[in-house]
């Protein structure tokens, strides 16, 4: 009889890298499908090209690394699929396909594989890919489509609410909150948002951003569906709530306290809901900042990291000259992560008492 001899434990939970990656992809799916619904079939092609090229680069690099058999390839763990999907969701629906491929090449070849593939990347590959094409081809990445659920108004063109507000402020508008700026320029809102807004008093732009009736990248528009995906991941214990909660809370708090300063309205007058639900904040907080490889290991470290993300997002969004606040803030904190992990070590069992015992002596 043949028996296996291995070290204990002889039991294993059902966790696996593969199941984590596929579950995250699953959690992203509703928001991605919504993007395809509002932006049209081209958005689907962007996602597909992104996923295929990401997997292709992953396989090719593995191939040159000696993994010639496709069954043995690192493709099976699903991380390349997830990077492709996430990166596709972070691109505009009108982006040329060649840029999609370029973004994936940067994400997989430069960011993920330079230091050894899965687990060794020092920043989130999908975010890095997005930032790379954004700063290299800014005009193509800023050309946002207005979703088909909104009636297009010519004066708005292809700007997202956030970029529209930023341009308006640099154009000289002041003493108005972002919602007021949007309203005076008659930025479009959906009829549902207008009706909810009239009964609750919440800015219609916040409601549109929450549901997903705004321009933006394919996957970031519907805060609602992203939050549903995030709750699924937290319920399945794949991510912990620490990063998204502390990230969004710290950002909201800073926005409420100081955002009014930029608009000339003074302290404690910032508009929170519109800001939280627009831009890539929800996608970033739930799916980008929680990337396991590039976020700290300990709970305490995660909280520090999330507070840092919230702070830098606030700083860049309100006082930076460029958009991309969420991406840049997360990448910045990704770089700090190894340092956090070095210094934040959990309290060990039976150690505090040891120090106390020494003091007692």
């Amino acid at each position: 009889m043949r028996v296996k001899i291995t070290s204990s434990p002889h039991f294993h939970s059902k966790n696996s890298t593969k199941s984590i990656m596929w579950n995250v992809s699953l959690a992203l799916a509703p928001a991605a499908l919504w993007g395809v619904y509002v932006f049209g079939i081209r958005a689907l092609f962007v996602l597909l090209v992104s996923i295929v090229s990401s997997c292709f680069f992953e396989y090719i690099l593995g191939y040159f690394d000696g993994n010639k058999d496709i069954k043995e390839s690192t493709l099976y763990d699903g991380s390349a699929f997830l990077t492709g999907l996430l990166l596709g969701m972070n691109l505009t629906p009108t982006i040329p396909f060649v840029l999609v491929i370029l973004a994936n090449a940067f994400a997989i070849v430069v960011v993920k594989w330079t230091f050894g593939g899965l687990g060794a990347n020092w920043m989130n590959p999908a975010l890095a890919g997005r930032v790379f094409v954004f700063f290299s081809f800014t005009s193509m990445m800023s050309n946002y489509t207005v979703p088909k659920t909104l009636e297009v108004v010519d004066s708005v063109g292809g700007a997202t609410p956030l970029s529209f507000v930023k341009t308006s402020i640099s154009g000289g508008l002041s003493n108005l909150s972002p919602s007021q700026i949007l309203a005076t320029s008659s930025y479009p809102t959906s009829s549902i948002a207008t009706s909810i807004s009239s009964s609750t008093g919440i800015s219609p732009y916040a409601i549109d951003a929450f549901i997903g009736n705004i321009g933006g990248c394919i996957g970031e528009v519907s805060a609602l569906l992203l939050i549903i995906g995030g709750i699924y991941l937290i319920a399945k214990k794949i991510i912990s709530y620490h990063i998204p909660v502390y990230y969004i809370l710290s950002f909201s708090l800073l926005t409420w306290m100081f955002a009014g300063v930029r608009d000339g309205l003074g302290l404690f007058s910032g508009e929170v809901l519109t800001q939280v639900f627009s831009g890539g904040l929800i996608l970033g907080a739930l799916f980008m900042a929680t990337d396991m490889v590039t976020s700290p290991i300990t709970k305490k470290g995660k909280i520090i990291y999330a507070l840092g993300c919230g702070f830098f997002t606030f700083l860049i969004r309100y006082f930076g000259s460029l958009p991309e606040a969420v991406s840049l803030a997360i990448i910045l904190m990704n770089i700090v992560t190894p340092t956090i992990d070095r210094y934040i070590v959990p309290k060990k069992f039976g150690y505090v008492k040891k120090i106390k015992a020494k003091e007692a002596k």
């Binding site: 001899i5 204990s8 002889h10 039991f11 294993h12 939970s13 490889v293 069992f349 039976g350 040891k354």
Partner: protein, 438 residues
């Protein structure tokens, strides 16, 4: 959740408990095997010195090995028969030591252990009896009991905590012992209380054994013993003394120290039964309860087995294998050792023989820094950092900064690891290499 159910706070995991295979099976005596292999290294510490030689005739219960140093234990013959050979016998935990191969004489006169009155004996005499009859901790670590119960001068045991947790998946030997031998176990506990002069006695039992809690409580009430039975929430590794003491008396053993440093002595249920047998029957530790279980066994059973019986006898008695197992494990599925052969004998520390299929076979991937191991570690270590440092040969960093030696190899980290990294294996290797380097 009722307030009187306690547990420890930090880390821990919830593996399937798998007790349903054998938790209703009554204790059964295994028929005398025709051959036993009695190892001289069945306990923690120095192997015993042999007292017999090849060709000697031994009687059941006769001493055949004697303690070689302070931390060591006596070894007795579990059968009557003739010593055929002295061989080097590897055990499941990869200890290789001299062992007596004894051929059982089926016609030999049966040795009967009769009840003796020990109430007149002094505490010291009782301690000597425990030592002389080879009692060791039967929870798995097999630490010689007389060393544990000998309270050094200046120390004082406030608590005697009895470990009825049995948090390892599959194992039910302590559970059945508590149910079927409650009176004996409690008497053994009272002897341990006398010897250690502990003020309070607490028995910690996990919630999946509430029948045992009730049984013990009723006997305690009947006999009016000063013993408290404490139900505990289900959580692995609650049976470890650090976690058990945190759960029951809410105290932390300082790193590198013993339970006695916080005024506690911990003993296992099986050990208490062995103490009872030693003191009340004058019977040495020559048999123990072994839980034969697992999904591959035809009829899982809780057997009373003479020490030294090859495990193949146990498996045959339980109807053999239903399906061919991937692994056969000595002890529980979380910390047990894999048997490499069916000829390995049962030793004092063998709490179970578990035949399992390997579930959830997954490829090992790179560490994705998810931090699940850090959350699961009951000691608050960072298994992923330990692993990285050991892998890169930075043993000193692993030892100093990440406290490698505080790891007790409970397996929580490797259990949850999504990358299926053999973390415990690397820590065991790391400890050995780090010791070598010193």
């Amino acid at each position: 959740m009722p307030k009187d159910v306690l547990t420890f706070k930090r880390g821990g995991v919830h593996p399937k408990d798998q007790k349903h295979f054998s938790n209703t099976k009554k204790l059964e005596k295994l028929p005398m095997p025709s051959l036993v292999v009695v190892s001289l290294s069945q306990h923690l510490g120095a192997p015993a010195k042999p007292l017999k030689k090849v060709g000697d005739v031994v009687k059941r219960g006769e001493k055949i090995g004697t303690a070689a140093s302070f931390i060591s234990a006596e070894v007795h013959s579990p059968v009557s028969g003739v010593i055929k050979k002295i061989i080097k016998q590897p055990l499941a935990n990869s200890v290789v030591a001299d062992a007596f191969l004894i051929e059982v004489d089926k016609d030999a006169e049966e040795v009967i252990f009769e009840k003796v009155d020990y109430s007149a004996k002094s505490d010291e005499e009782l301690l000597n009896t425990i030592k002389d009859l080879g009692v060791v901790g039967l929870g798995g670590a097999t630490f010689p009991s007389h060393v544990k119960f000998m309270i050094p001068k200046g120390k004082f045991a406030q608590y005697l905590v009895i470990n009825g947790v049995e948090c390892e998946p599959y194992l039910t030997s302590d559970h059945r012992t508590m149910l079927e031998r409650s009176e004996e176990v409690l008497e053994g506990i009272m002897i341990a209380k006398r010897v250690t002069q502990a003020k309070e006695v607490i028995i910690g039992i996990e919630e999946n054994k509430m029948d045992a809690v009730e049984k013990l409580r009723s006997v305690i009430a009947e006999k009016n013993y000063p013993i408290k039975v404490q139900p505990l929430k289900l959580k692995y590794p609650q049976g470890d003394e650090k976690q058990l003491l945190k759960a029951t008396i809410n105290k932390e053993i300082p790193s590198g120290k013993l339970p006695l440093d916080i005024g506690a002595v911990v003993a296992n249920i099986g050990t208490c039964f062995a103490i009872y047998e030693a003191c009340a029957l004058n019977k040495p530790l020559i048999e123990r309860v072994v839980c034969v279980s697992g999904e591959c066994i035809n009829e899982p059973k809780n057997l009373i087995v003479p020490i030294g019986t090859p495990i193949s006898n146990l498996i045959d008695y339980c109807g053999g294998f239903k399906t061919e197992p991937d692994k056969i494990i000595s002890g529980g599925a979380m910390m047990g050792f894999a048997f490499h052969s069916l000829d390995i004998p049962v030793v004092k520390g063998t709490s179970g023989v578990i035949s399992i299929l390997e579930e959830n076979k997954e490829r090992e991937t790179a560490c994705i820094s998810c931090g699940k191991c850090v959350d699961a570690c009951p000691i608050g270590l960072m298994p992923t950092m330990l692993y990285r440092n050991i892998k890169n040969g930075n043993y000193q960093v692993a030892l100093d900064k990440y406290s490698l030696m505080d790891c007790k190899e409970c397996g929580c980290c490797a259990y949850v690891c999504p990358a299926h990294i053999p973390l415990v294996h690397s820590f065991k290797t790391g400890k050995k290499l780090a010791r070598k380097k010193k």
